[in-house]
């Protein structure tokens, strides 16, 4: 195949047919014995999930004081983690929706688990604004707009209320999108399952899918509409999240560049996470034919492009601080670089500015090992970016008399690691019980499908 000069860059391994694709992906769920590695990974993830439960239980019992928060640092890990997770989610939506609309066929093999990643990341992200109040029960009572006898509505001027809508919409649409995309594959699994119980379960999920032309027609329409709905969300959700900061008057938060800079950062972080998941996945499940080097290379390119936008954001923050002539802004950027948390800024630049530059070189873009390393560095870098924005801005604000320091406590870390546990647990369950790669969409890109087209 590689010798064929006119073929498009390879996004599926050689020799695959409709049947092999279906066999290969369905067998991960249905036939094959669960590998030992899965159990080991799941056990670790599940253990971390238990840590989350303990952390949250303690939090609800005692209050947010178990974290390292204080005045002036009223937001810290919870908000950092919220932004981090929700940013990660963005890549999934981008891959599923925007790349679908742009007819990027290489998205096909990664969209399913990227969407799952989105969903799980949003679940983790959504947890934080709720628990960071310490008393979520009152939050639901006052934050959700509903007609009530008190005649009181939420304050619609507050970006946090916009967050409520943005994140809940995002979660809903992402879940729908993911589930609708799953329906044909659930039907395939139903049809191939031998165990009656499993058949019934998948059958319920498949919602009576029989693969008729009408089904396919409805499906395509629904999927396209959802893709259309999701597309603005890719931009809007992180824009709204950035408003949490940009609307405030705090130096380091109050910046008009935040919305695009946050969206780019989200996609950047999201692709890093997709790579973090895809590389081990294809290795352990032998999916090199479906998630090819071409995929990895493309994602490397996206990483590079978005990193440049993010770095532009960093540059503009520093430039505007200088250009504004505001003593507060200038101090803020000085403090970021040389203050008590100065090291985080330099590590951040190493992670998000220097490391992605490797992606200029094809040999790094096409080597799974290198890509994985870069992706991990970017994951850390994007977390640090939020740390720099949230904590470093808050701890040295307007009045020096109120300045303070923030040190995360054990429970700060436990909650964060716990959500990683939640994320991985869900992801392990997902790759075990659902097709991690879209079977029917993969079938559209095997040579058989293409040959048909060429013949007509």
């Amino acid at each position: 195949m590689a010798s064929a000069p006119h073929t498009e860059p390879r996004i599926i391994g050689p020799g695959h047919t409709f049947a092999t694709v279906t066999d290969k992906i369905a067998s991960l769920v249905l036939q094959k014995k669960t590998p030992l590695g899965w159990f080991v990974g799941f056990a670790v993830a599940f253990g971390l999930l238990q840590l989350l439960l303990v952390s949250v239980a303690l939090l609800l019992a005692r209050g947010v004081g178990i974290w390292g928060l204080n005045i002036p640092v009223g937001w810290a890990f919870a908000i950092i983690n919220f932004v981090w997770w929700i940013g990660i989610g963005h890549a999934g939506t981008l891959i599923s929706a925007i790349l679908l609309l742009l007819r990027q066929q290489w998205r096909t093999s990664i969209n399913r688990f990227a969407e799952a990643m989105t969903l799980f990341a949003v679940a983790c992200a959504g947890l934080f604004p709720i628990i960071h109040m310490g008393r979520p029960w009152v939050g639901a009572y006052w934050l959700l707009p509903y007609p009530n006898t008190m005649g009181i509505w939420p304050n619609f001027r507050s970006p946090l209320i916009w967050d409520v809508f943005a994140v809940s919409t995002y979660a809903t649409v992402s879940a729908l999108f993911w589930f609708v995309g799953l329906i044909p594959d659930l039907a395939t699994l139903r049809d191939r399952a031998t165990n009656k119980f499993v058949k019934i379960l998948y059958g319920m999920g498949a919602m009576g899918w029989r693969g008729s032309a009408r089904h396919w027609n409805n499906y395509e329409m629904a999927y396209l509409i959802l893709a259309g709905l999701s597309t603005p969300l890719v931009v809007s959700v992180h824009t709204v999240v950035s408003f949490d900061f940009a609307v405030a008057n705090l130096p380091g938060w109050h910046a008009t560049i935040f919305p695009p800079y946050f969206v780019a950062g989200a996609i950047y972080a999201g692709f890093a996470m997709v790579l973090t998941l895809a590389i081990p996945l294809r290795k352990f499940y032998g999916l090199e034919d479906f998630i090819t080097d071409k995929h990895l290379e493309n994602m490397g390119k996206v990483l590079l492009a978005t990193s440049l936008i993010v770095v532009y954001g960093y540059t503009m923050e520093a430039f505007m601080a200088w250009y504004s002539g505001s003593t507060f802004e200038r101090f803020m950027i000085w403090n970021r670089m040389f203050g008590s948390y100065g090291w985080t800024y330099w590590v951040l630049l190493f992670c998000n500015l220097l490391t992605p530059q490797l992606m200029w070189f094809k040999r790094f873009r096409t080597r799974a090992g290198w890509l994985f390393a870069v992706a991990m560095v970017v994951n850390v870098g994007m977390w640090l970016e939020r740390f720099v924005i949230v904590v470093t801005s808050l701890h040295r604000d307007f009045l020096p008399s109120s300045w303070g320091m923030y040190s995360p406590t054990f429970w700060d870390w436990a909650t964060f690691l716990g959500t990683i546990g939640l994320f991985l647990t869900l992801f392990f369950l997902f790759i075990r019980f659902l097709p991690a790669i879209s079977i029917f969409e993969m079938r559209t890109i095997v040579p058989e499908a293409r040959l048909e087209e060429e013949r007509t």
Partner: protein
């Protein structure tokens, strides 16, 4: 615990209803058990309640309390849970005559601080005292209070107060004590009471003095020791040295143009500090149209708020103050030797001479008698006597013996009965006396006090004392004015006052404090028809008319002190000072005071070895490091005269080099749950011959570190903070000369936006718009506002760990800013309350509208709507918002429930809170005005901080009214808004500080600005 079943005697309502006093006699009843004193009921109570409270052997003491409370609640609903004293007490005039539920009454009384009366008005809600205000009619209070005055409410309700008479740790009754006492006294009477000694704090009570005389009749050989850890012996001896007799100098700051303080910290530790601050600050509220003000020079060995507010502050080691004083004295014409010259002396002398009779020199109680004599001589030479200082007799009744003499007697075994009342010598006596060991040689030791303290545990008998808010007494202020102390509440735990205790030594009957007091004043005021009126008037006003001491004429007599200078100290010097929070340790169990950020160090819950940056560098390069859990500092061992303690190092700008200051009052072992083990015990180093400073201190590094809870940035690690503060024009100041040259000097470099730039529409205030102006020229940083706010607004105490993490809850804080070099910085205090911004950043970002703008311009908090996102705090440029990270309020301790202001929500966990300009007081005034169909008068509403401020630096009022005091202040060119360039349009504004330095004295500031 074996408990008998409750006796079958029915407790009936008839029992209660049938017995409301005998015929023809009005009987006031305190509580149901008294009202229904049927034998069965008493038996029931006896079995169930206090007598057996010991069987509830709960170290926490809550159950004891509950059972006591239970006694009065036994037939719940028929009685309030508190008891008014049975005698008639009179409400203050500005309150209506009758008690209206929900309306507090104010009663005039006094609390003695170190024996000296501070006149107060106590707010009482349905019989529960909840808040202390200053008594405007009292000459030494003038309506203000200090931090200690405010905290007496907490002291009253302190759950760690002792609740029972104890003998060897076992519960006894008062009856048992009286019986035991009678036996002992019978034995002691034969030798005339030669083996009996009384040890108390400073006594200014005329009634107690009279009782002492009466006691002399019973036990002529008994002796009285009046002792305070923070004594004023130097003041007394200084007067004796100069005049040959003991007199009390009474300063008149309102007449003083030039003041030289020789280590006199009149802001925080002077018997008349409230009045002195009022007069001093009154001369510093500069009107830029007619600029004039006083000038204060302070020479001191340890930074104090007085020095911080001075125009010139010279950091000299305490031992060097005398040489300086001698040089100045020689300059102003006193014949004296031993002066040590200094750059300052010539210009200072010239300034003092120019002021002449309007100059004033005062010496602090930490300086040796000679310095006091020198100060007296200078005043005489300058002709200030009669203008800025007058002399009167001292208010205190001197004791018969000194503490040292008493200890010698005790060691010799001469003492058989020692009564310690209201003093804690085991903790606070000088280390070289060995008081505790001497105490064990006394066969019978009786302790009378508010709690079972270090001294109580070494005494056989402990008798619970009644709190000043629970007892009848009287006390003199430093100027002589007597205040009758009337109780606001019957003793919570059946404690007796010192008068009642002493009566037990004098007579067999058991007179009540009320009768003792009234009896004494009948003798004084005359037992005629007019007595009742005079008595009522005195109770009502809070002062007994005509008790001010007359002026005395005295003349300075030269003596040895003019020729022989005191010996200097060698090596590293240690200075002992009382703590600005817990004082000498007596307030160690009061969380409000432990958690009070100390005026200059901003430390809470700790004392430290304070030293200058240079000394810290020289002694071992000590550093203080800021972390999210607190400030980490090194622990050193302080060795001094054979004693040693471990103390954390704290670096304090403006501290003289080669000296270390330690604050007394910490390291207590039996203070209670709050105060035990907080800080280190500096008394362990203090010796009787050098109570305030001495040379020969050794400092050794231990390698240990300590975590400190400091509420503000620390100089040495955050130099950037000081640069940033200057860049941001947070503190505006100018010298008097600059103001005279240009009244608008304060606007230089400021960035005030034009009005009308905002895109948001303006709020409209048809009626009133509240605002506040804080005069930084007047503020002395004494912290009275902080405690007053804490008391008024039910502000929680969070503890050291939480303060270290930056979670203190104070609604008002006093920011301290330095300017200039760390050796001799200028210090400014800036009290920060909520700015109640016109365009409030907090309001916009709250998702649930829990902080909203009121139609009178306040930034209201709706606590029950707050969900705790903390976004408002992040967006508050002033960081005045406070968050309940945990459930900080003690919701269980019953006494704290009684203590709280019922008009202010007790905030729960997860809720943001902040200053609301005491909105409950605004509401009360609004309702009053409406009822009386009038406008709210200017000055009718005083916020808690404003009311407490001795300097009257805080003014609150309606900015819609151009004639209001606050409007006039805001019209001053000195007025500016903090961070006004952010367009928040704060309603709290500041009046820039004006300092009045002597142009002839070089200062770092001048060089920096003009050099």
């Amino acid at each position: 615990m074996s408990q008998d079943p409750i006796p079958a005697v029915p407790v009936t309502f008839e029992g209660v209803v049938r017995r409301p006093g005998g015929p023809g006699r009005r009987r006031y009843w305190k509580s149901l058990e008294e009202l229904a004193d049927s034998p069965g009921f008493l038996e029931f109570l006896h079995r169930e309640f206090p007598e057996q409270a010991s069987s509830f052997d709960d170290p926490k003491g809550r159950r004891d309390f509950l059972s006591l409370m239970g006694a009065s609640l036994a037939l719940a609903g028929l009685t309030a849970c508190t008891k008014q004293p049975t005698e008639r007490i009179l409400p203050y005039v500005r309150q209506p005559e009758q008690l209206v539920p929900g309306r507090p009454l104010h009663f005039a009384t006094a609390v003695a601080h170190d024996g000296y009366a501070r006149g107060i008005l106590v707010e009482s809600h349905e019989g529960r005292p909840t808040k202390v205000e200053g008594n405007p009619d009292h000459p030494q209070s003038l309506g203000a209070t200090d931090v200690f005055g405010q905290a007496h409410v907490l002291g009253l309700y302190d759950p760690d107060r002792s609740k029972n008479v104890l003998y060897l740790g076992q519960d006894r009754t008062w009856g048992a004590f009286r019986e035991a006492l009678r036996e002992v006294l019978d034995k002691q009477k034969r030798p005339g009471g030669a083996g009996v000694r009384f040890l108390t704090g400073r006594v200014t009570s005329p009634t107690l003095a009279a009782q002492r005389e009466a006691l002399r009749g019973e036990l002529p050989e008994a002796r009285w020791v009046s002792w305070e850890p923070a004594d004023r012996d130097n003041v007394r001896e200084g007067a004796r040295l100069a005049f040959g007799e003991v007199v009390e100098p009474q300063y008149r700051f309102e007449n003083a143009d030039v003041v030289l303080s020789l280590e006199a910290d009149f802001v925080t530790s002077h018997p008349a500090s409230l009045r002195l601050v009022r007069e001093y600050a009154g001369r510093r509220k500069v009107d830029v149209e007619k600029p004039e003000m006083n000038r204060l020079y302070v020479v001191e060995g340890s930074p104090t708020p007085t020095g911080a507010s001075a125009d010139h502050r010279l950091a000299l080691r305490s031992s060097a103050v005398e040489g300086f004083a001698r040089a100045v004295a020689a300059g102003v014409g006193v014949e004296i030797e031993g002066g040590v010259d200094h750059d300052w002396v010539a210009p200072l002398v010239e300034d003092l001479k120019r002021a002449g009779a309007r100059a004033l020199v005062l010496a602090g109680e930490t300086q040796p008698p000679a310095v006091h004599a020198i100060a007296h001589a200078m005043n005489e030479a300058l002709g200030t006597v009669g203008t800025t200082v007058v002399y009167t007799e001292p208010a205190e009744t001197a004791g018969d013996l000194s503490l040292g003499e008493l200890v010698d007697e005790m060691k010799d075994g001469q003492i058989e009965v020692l009564v310690v009342a209201g003093a804690n010598p085991v903790y606070a006596a000088p280390a070289d006396l060995g008081f505790a060991e001497a105490l064990e040689k006394v066969p019978l030791r009786i302790h009378h006090g508010l709690s079972v303290d270090e001294t109580a545990v070494l005494c056989q008998w402990h008798l619970p004392a009644a709190h000043p808010l629970e007892s009848w007494s009287d006390a003199r202020a430093a100027c002589g004015t007597v205040t009758l102390v009337q109780p606001l509440i019957a003793p919570l735990y059946g404690g007796l006052s010192t008068h009642e205790l002493l009566a037990a030594f004098i007579e067999d009957s058991e007179p009540k404090g009320y009768d003792i007091l009234r009896g004494h004043w009948m003798e004084v005021l005359g037992d005629d028809d007019a007595f009742e009126a005079r008595w009522s008037r005195a109770l009502h006003d809070g002062v007994v008319a005509g008790t001010v001491f007359p002026e005395k004429t005295v003349a300075v007599r030269p003596g040895e002190w003019t020729r022989v200078a005191g010996e200097g100290t060698s090596g590293l010097e240690i200075a002992f000072r009382t703590d600005p929070g817990v004082y000498d340790g007596r307030f160690a169990n009061l969380g409000w005071l432990q958690e009070l950020p100390r005026p200059l160090t901003k430390l809470t819950w700790d004392n430290a070895a304070l030293m200058s940056p240079k000394t810290a560098e020289r002694l071992g390069g000590f550093r203080v490091e800021e972390t999210g859990a607190g400030h980490v500092t090194e622990v050193v061992e302080l060795r001094y005269r054979g004693h040693s303690v471990k103390a954390p190092v704290w670096i304090l700008p403006g501290h003289p080099d080669d000296a270390v200051t330690v604050h007394l009052g910490f390291g207590r072992s039996r203070a209670g749950r709050v105060g035990d083990g907080v800080g280190f015990d500096a008394y362990a180093l203090r010796t009787s011959d050098a109570p305030w400073f001495g040379g020969g201190l050794e400092v050794e590094r231990t390698g240990e570190t300590a975590l400190m809870a400091c509420t503000q940035d620390h100089w040495t690690i955050e130099n950037t903070a000081h640069e940033a503060a200057a860049d941001r024009h947070l503190v505006r100041s100018a010298t008097l000369d600059e103001v005279q040259a240009d009244p608008h000097v304060f606007e230089h470099g400021a960035h005030e936006p034009e009005p009308g730039l905002s895109m948001h529409p303006d709020h409209e205030y048809p009626d009133r718009a509240w605002g506040m102006a804080i005069d930084m020229s007047a503020c002395v940083g004494c912290n009275a506002c902080v405690t007053a706010c804490q008391s008024e607004n039910n502000v929680a105490v969070v503890g050291k760990d939480q303060v270290g993490r930056g979670r203190e809850m104070h609604w008002i804080r006093v920011d301290r800013y330095y300017e200039g070099p760390p050796e001799s910085p200028e210090t400014f205090h800036q009290p920060v309350v909520c700015m109640q911004c016109e365009q409030a950043p907090c309001e916009v970002v709250c998702p649930v509208a829990a902080t909203v703008h009121s139609d009178e311009g306040l930034n209201d908090m709706v606590y029950n709507r707050c969900v705790g996102t903390r976004y408002c705090s992040n967006n508050c440029p002033y960081k005045v918002r406070r968050f309940n990270f945990f459930l900080y309020q003690d919701w269980d301790t019953p006494t704290f429930k009684m203590m709280r202001n019922p008009e202010v929500t007790v905030r729960s966990r997860g809720v943001m809170e902040k200053c609301t300009y005491c909105v409950q007081r605004i509401s009360r005034a609004r309702i009053d005005a409406k009822n009386e169909n009038r406008e709210i008068r200017d000055g009718e509403i005083q916020t808690a901080c404003e009311g407490a401020c001795p300097a009257q630096a805080i003014v609150f009022g309606d900015v819609n009214d151009p004639e209001s005091r606050v409007s006039k202040l805001k019209a001053s060119p000195r007025n500016y808004g903090l961070l006004a360039e952010l367009q928040t349009r704060p309603r709290t504004t500041y009046l820039a500080a004006v300092r009045n330095p002597n142009p002839a004295i070089p200062s770092a500031r001048r060089e920096e600005h003009h050099g």
